[in-house]
């Protein structure tokens, strides 16, 4: 039995409006995290002709309890993928594109080279498009992170996902310190690059734990923050502990901005790549 959702968790859907993007992805053999993660904003984003590309296949080597992406043994990276993503970006006239991935612990570089190749392919075909790389922790391997940093993404995004105390339960193959380390290393190595992270509420965290998370993340030099409601993808996933209200999200935003984040997107349906260009536009003049 599905628990009744609060009124603020409503989205609109129109099959015909999303067909064009869905067909483009099929034709170019591309995946989007919108579809693979069953994102509630898919209808809105596809309708606006935008999407978050999920490179390196749709199968993940990790089994996080909040995530809808399938876990298993992935295929080798598709050498055509970088060019195909660039073609899709051009077709959709995207001014800002977010690239994310399934976590690829099976690859020695964690998929970093495929990220770099995709960023380069987009820059070649769409030189005015800004690129955001939403990366896995790449096991914290600095050589892998360097491969991504060398192509200078406009935004480097890596999610801490939840407070320190819930990491083991929610993402057992990742870790709080490791994710903070990724953010800190990237900002230290490329101070001019915007660094971004995000976390979910509704997993059972306390206000005090959220406060500590905000301080810890800010201390890495992170600029941009997203805060959204955790939504259980299927009954087999980690249960929702509570639905935070829109007022709660407004309060989190106020607290985070007061602490010093340059841009905060905080709303029940905010996701790490949702309206990502707005963050970039908002803080453009600060650099």
């Amino acid at each position: 039995m599905i628990e009744k959702k609060p009124d603020w968790l409503k989205v609109r859907y129109n099959q015909e409006a999303i067909d064009e993007v869905a067909e483009l992805m099929r034709d170019l053999n591309l995946n989007t995290v919108c579809k693979e993660a069953n994102c509630p904003n898919l209808g809105e984003c596809y309708r606006k002709h935008t999407a978050t590309f999920m490179i390196l296949g749709s199968i993940c080597t990790r089994n996080c309890r909040f995530c809808n992406v399938c876990c298993g043994r992935p295929m080798p990276p598709n050498p055509q993928e970088p060019e195909n993503v660039a073609k899709a970006v051009k077709h959709l006239h995207l001014k800002h594109v977010v690239l994310t991935c399934s976590t690829r612990d099976d690859l020695p570089d964690g998929g970093a080279r495929q990220f770099a190749n995709t960023v380069n392919a987009i820059r070649e075909l769409c030189p005015h498009t800004t690129v955001e790389t939403l990366i896995s922790d790449m096991k914290g391997d600095r050589n892998s992170l360097d491969i991504v940093l060398e192509v200078k993404p406009d935004v480097l995004n890596h999610n801490v996902e939840t407070v320190k105390e819930l990491q083991k339960e929610i993402r057992p193959q990742a870790g709080y310190e490791s994710s903070l380390g990724v953010l800190r290393y990237c900002k230290d190595k490329a101070p001019e690059m915007r660094v971004k992270t995000g976390f979910m509420v509704g997993l059972g965290e306390t206000e005090e734990q959220i406060n500590v998370l905000l301080d810890d993340v800010l201390d890495t030099g992170c600029d941009i923050l997203t805060i959204g409601q955790y939504l259980q993808p299927t009954p087999a996933h980690y249960p929702v502990a509570r639905y935070a209200t829109p007022e709660d999200f407004a309060r989190y935003k106020e607290i985070a901005l007061a602490k010093g984040f340059k841009h905060v997107a905080s709303a029940p349906l905010a996701r790490s790549s949702y309206r990502a260009w707005e963050a970039l536009e908002d803080i453009h003049d600060l650099y």
Partner: protein, 83 residues
């Protein structure tokens, strides 16, 4: 011409969904892009829009019914363009 509004298949593994509310009554005018009914899925409530301008001719299910994906949920008499 009569058009069918289908239960959408929001993701590959989705087989059915609960129709939780009708947002229009039989006889109501509907514009393309207007939400006609709500379905409850695991993550959110989704308002399904009409792709047609017309009049809601019939509801094929009651609120609370579980409907297989891609089955017709409602019939819309499409507005004919004047020639």
């Amino acid at each position: 011409m009569e058009k069918k509004l289908l239960m959408p298949k929001l993701r590959p593994e989705m087989e059915k969904a609960v129709l939780c509310a009708w947002l229009k009554e039989v006889g109501d005018e509907i514009k393309s892009g207007e939400p006609v009914y709500e379905i409850e899925t695991d993550k959110v409530v989704t308002q399904v829009e009409s792709s047609y301008d017309g009049v809601l001719k019939s509801k094929l299910y009651e609120e609370g019914d579980t409907v297989d994906v891609l089955l017709p949920v409602a019939l819309v008499e499409e507005k004919q363009e004047a020639v």
